[in-house]
Symmetry: C2
Subunit: 215 residues, 2 copies
DNA sequence: GAGATAGGTGTGGTCTGACCACTAAAAAAC
DNA sequence: GTTTTTTAGTGGTCAGACCACACCTATCTC
């Protein structure tokens, strides 16, 4: 009988090895969001490990938001959502002020990077689409920005931004402002590809006017 | 007998409740990095839950990097380090084709963000220190950039950059170029706080000359 | 035949008890 | 006093037992 743990020098815990195996399994079978993964009992049997070890791995991935389990049905790949995770991390690590500052600064800079990308990349059509959504009041501030970030067409930035946004909102209560006029101006500036105007409006939106020369 | 699970409408899983309890416990007792938390068996008894449930909670927190367990000793609060976590998330998230391009683009943009931060933040003294290290040939390209990133004084950026750099090096065969002259020019540009010059040199360093107007 | 009902099966959720491997501190031997 | 041995405590893992729930299917009722 060959156990997963035997394949290593045993300095790796079984549940970590299972996480690894799951990763490879997902990648090999090209499983996507919503797909089902084998049951706990089947995994336990296939990997020659105890079911409790399988559960430790699955629970950890669940807390991370990477999978979702439904009693009586099974375990499914999930579209990664950082919120829950971020909330947890936040209460654990975001105590010191410097960390909060870093989060906010990083988010602003990444947002501006995305604006640059949009300026160079997005076509007018897409921007007009966002504009119409805003005009119909279908987007709040966060949703609007997410649309912009997506237009930057960089998946990594989208992911990072989503996480940072959650941190940001948990640190910075607030912002029900939603000034539609400013947002519309920002879109306009992007459409005409006026970089200076774009960033001027952005700083206004984020209340960075005072710090305008800092970034 | 009152179980943790009974105190709720039971729509919350026990291990999540334990995570919550642990959080409160840590906060109440003001436990800090390095401190020990109760043993699995004690927690199991105190919270009236099975040890396996306690373990599910602890393993999840461990994968998150929030605690550390040492066999034979116990479980300890840990100084949070995101790298392992981000690495894990990365392998789960970065599977698509476009990912490589996104990684490179993201790294470049973050490096430029850091340059901006350094321009506004770093004092000459620190820069001269880096300069002397370069002159003594004590830094390779990556190490040099890491010094710069650190001068930007944003912990989050440092973390993200380190991860991206690993991906970058595995994607981009590689650049043993190490042109000391260009690096020294970059430092000089930063010292005199000449933004245009700085970015011009940077693009040269990263061979972005062709794309210069894209970013 | 259509619909409602009752089982059966598979799944996650949880607990218990049993080992093992390892560490550190106490006890014993010198 | 120093070394060795024992012992108690801790995490690591497994196996088996229930439970609650979702889904399917065969059966019953009309």
């Amino acid at each position: 009988m060959v156990k997963v743990s035997d394949s290593l020098v045993a300095n790796t815990k079984v549940y970590l090895e299972i996480v690894k195996q799951l990763r490879e399994m997902i990648s090999a079978d090209n499983l996507k969001s919503g797909d089902k993964i084998p049951s706990e009992r089947e995994l336990s049997e296939r990997l020659n490990v105890g079911r409790s070890s399988v559960r430790e791995a699955l629970r950890a991935l669940e807390l991370l938001g990477l999978i979702e389990t439904r009693r009586g049905e099974g375990t499914f790949i999930r579209d990664f959502q950082g919120n829950q995770l971020v909330q947890l991390l936040g209460t654990f690590i975001l105590q010191d002020e410097k960390a909060k500052h870093d989060v906010i600064e990083t988010m602003y800079l990444i947002e501006m990077d995305c604006l640059r990308l949009v300026l160079n990349r997005a076509d007018e059509k897409q921007l007009l689409k966002v504009k119409s959504l805003v005009e119909q009041n279908q987007l709040n501030d966060d949703e609007f920005f997410y649309q912009l970030i997506k237009l930057a067409d960089n998946f990594l930035f989208s992911r990072i931004w989503l996480i940072l946004k959650d941190y940001y909102n948990s640190v910075q209560p607030k912002n029900v402002v939603y000034n539609r006029n400013i947002i519309l101006q920002l879109i306009e500036a992007l459409i005409v590809k006026d970089e200076k105007w774009t960033f001027s409006i952005y700083r206004q939106l984020r209340n960075l006017s005072i710090l305008s020369d800092k970034y």
